[in-house]
């Protein structure tokens, strides 16, 4: 700060408080709605102060789900989301770190082609190849399976580039020393590269966990039965019905539960989150 201007400082605080209010308000409304009974949503205005049905709403959703819209109990969908987020983030990190290792520490025919093939995936988001990808997954018999939900998403150019960048900054001498001491490539990978990239792996994990948890289009295509629904997808199914039969208290309880895990990850691992966000954009 260059100089101290009282008015500008006050203005800055005001802007920030309004900003925080803007981002927090939708969540506040959702939280409040999830504490009310169904009758509070029939007419007039949505409630703005907490109600008394918190425990009833959440326990009903966790154990029974919303039968009228065919939504399974929330613990099932939360479990599916967790499986999906963990498989995608761990899968992406695993296959990317070994391919970056191959690209940086080996010279082999076809290396450039492999590198470009991985690069091109950046330009092929699911949205531009919806039908043919769906067909491939269907023909492989992977519809409605955890493999179908996760495997097609685990190729990652961004993660591969990130690890390549990390490996390139690791001093040559480490590898030479390891070789002189008689370490083979895999021993070098496990004992030197992996420990050295620990924080990068953690930062990437935070970003990819959020990415996996929040997937929408892909689960929408691949799941046809309710047993593989993720929670983000489940909300939508419930909201569809809600237009005729408002069960906003239950929907908002689901909304709250759907955002708690990734939001907690961001808040408690903020440093890693920011690191991951900035690194993956290089």
């Amino acid at each position: 700060m260059v100089e101290n201007r009282r008015f500008l400082n006050l203005l800055a605080h005001l802007v920030l408080i309004l900003g925080v209010a803007f981002v927090a308000f939708p969540v506040y409304i959702a939280l409040i709605a999830s504490t009310h009974g169904q009758n509070d949503f029939l007419s007039g205005l949505i409630p703005l102060l907490p109600g008394h049905d918190t425990i009833r709403n959440y326990s009903a959703m966790m154990t029974q789900g919303l039968a009228s819209s065919g939504a399974p109990p929330l613990w099932l969908m939360l479990g599916n989301s967790l499986i999906m987020a963990l498989s995608i983030s761990i899968g992406k990190i695993a296959i990317s770190i070994i391919s970056a290792f191959a690209i940086v520490y080996f010279r082999f025919p076809g290396r450039m082609i492999a590198f470009w093939l991985i690069f091109v995936t950046l330009m092929l988001p699911v949205e531009v190849r919806i039908l043919p990808t769906y067909k491939v997954v269907a023909e492989l018999g992977m519809l409605n399976t955890y493999a179908g939900l996760t495997v097609p998403l685990i190729a990652s150019a961004t993660a591969t580039f990130l690890f390549r960048q990390v490996f390139l900054t690791i001093p040559e001498e480490l590898m030479e020393a390891a070789r002189i001491d008689g370490a083979g490539p895999m021993k070098f990978f496990w004992d030197i590269l992996l420990p050295l990239s620990r924080t990068n792996i953690a930062a990437l994990f935070v970003i990819l966990f959020i990415y996996g948890w929040n997937q929408y289009l892909w689960p929408l295509l691949v799941t046809t039965g309710t047993d593989h629904y993720t929670i983000v997808l489940g909300i939508k199914r419930m909201a569809d019905i809600a237009d005729q039969q408002p069960e906003w208290n239950f929907i908002m309880a689901t909304v709250v539960l759907a955002m708690v895990p990734p939001v907690l990850v961001v808040i408690f691992m903020q440093r890693l989150f920011v690191k991951g966000l900035i690194e993956t954009e290089k």
Partner: protein, 294 residues
Amino acid sequence: MSTKRNTFRHRTLPYLLIAPQLAVTLVFFMWPAAQAVIQSFEQEDAFGLSTTWVGFQNYQTLFADPEYLNALKVTVVFTLGVTAVSLGLALLLALAVDRMVKSATVYTTLLVWPYAVAPAVSGVMWWFMFNPTIGIFPYLLHMVGYDWNHGLHGTDAMILVILAASWNQISYNFLFFVAGLQSIPASLREAAAIDGAGPAKRFWTITLPLLSPTTFFLLVVNFVYAMFNTFATIHATTQGGPAGSTNILVYKVFNDGFIGLNLGSSSAQSVVLLFIVIALTVVQFAWVERRVQY
């Protein structure tokens, strides 16, 4: 391409290491993308029994279709809206945080978490707040004499999806703007202050020009976000309606292909989207090169 001076010598190991990534890439990325390109030149008969090569006919039909032209227009409005709202608010908040000494980290924590909320989830929350019968905003708007109904009015629906999509993206833009502001040397602003430039003048002549690489980068990222990552926002709220007023390209390609099962048209739309992604990626990487020199 750079590698290490010394490399390991092994005939099969590198292939084994890279195989899983390449397998997924080829099976779930390359092959379907190639299929989309081929199908965009073909047409299926009414029963889906045979396909014939029709050249550019799918594309010609597409660009003569008023619905598609409408989707293009809607996408432009939506993309510009989301980018303007989320970049503008994020810059304002970043400038304010940049003035803070002690409270900067607290405010940052309170502002970054919406990044973690799924676009579908934020869509449903905004949908709820704007619900024409019980929502809080229609209630307030009604008091000033405006009849909000995103189920009937295209403009209302567009405002709703722009707000919902921007809400998610503000934290991302905010973090990058804060990083950009911190990389501007304080000495430059101090020198300007000594020369008598006030805060507004310093912002326009020093801060904003020096922030331009960050702004340009964010512009591209936000275009990509608004065009490709907002499918969930639309699908969870307006579903492209009313009357196609929020029918953005990624939603239309899904709707025509997956719901309408119009293979040729959907593939042609995919290819158009593919060109947009390629163009944006090229711009983004060209920018990375430039930033290094900056």
